[in-house]
Symmetry: C2
Subunit: 104 residues, 2 copies
DNA sequence: TGACAGTATCAGTACATGCTGATGTCAGTC
DNA sequence: GACTGACATCAGCATGTACTGATACTGTCA
């Protein structure tokens, strides 16, 4: 039982625009131009966020001529889902057993 | 298919200390004193973070004399796990089908 | 080769937020 | 009722970071 969620990964995903990007990339592999069109954000801003996602290993890039495709890495998200599921499971067991530390 | 992760909840959880608190509360219902002892953080700081968790609906409080027990709400975490699992599933399908939007 | 489009990088700014000390409040105990 | 311990609230400070305009790099096409 690992029982610890990756804080750094969470911080990366805990931004509205980045989460939006991740949701879009989950459905379709896109390049920056598409993301600019979809989100309405400036290119510079998006490029910064994409760099954060790249550095965190959340997305892969695939150059295609002068375009750059961004692809979401499913395993990273799946691992996170698993960590939260495990945490929830532990919490449920704690609630069911009414496990509670006594106050001194 | 909801397909959207709750950004506000993520922001709440994307803090190292708060995530630590959540992990501790998953195993055991505790009061502030215990959390101070476990984390080594100042009482004021912890109280602030606990307020954030309370406001976000991540934890429930149960007053017990002059103590206050904090209990993690498993359903909130489970819902988050479900959202990420769904996202991962979508991403896997996208990768398997190599779904990719053409560059104009 | 020059022009342009897609993308990345850089420096600066503004805002959010995590931490702190001081203080207030409430419950239990002498 | 005075005191102590558990907890919350407040104001101030400091740091991180999201956003921006300017600019550089790279590949494509005329």
């Amino acid at each position: 039982m690992l029982m610890s969620v990756d804080t750094d990964l969470l911080r990366v995903l805990a931004d509205p625009l980045r989460l939006r990007i991740v949701a879009l990339l989950a459905r379709e592999t896109l390049c920056t131009t598409h993301l600019v069109a979809e989100t309405g954000a400036r290119q510079t801003n998006l490029s910064n966020h994409l760099k954060v996602l790249r550095d965190a290993g959340v997305v892969d890039t695939e150059p295609c001529g002068r375009f750059t495709y961004y692809r979401l890495k499913p395993d990273v998200i799946a691992a996170l889902a698993g960590q939260f599921a495990e945490l929830a499971e532990t919490a449920r067991a704690t609630a069911a057993a009414d496990r509670k530390r006594a106050c001194s």
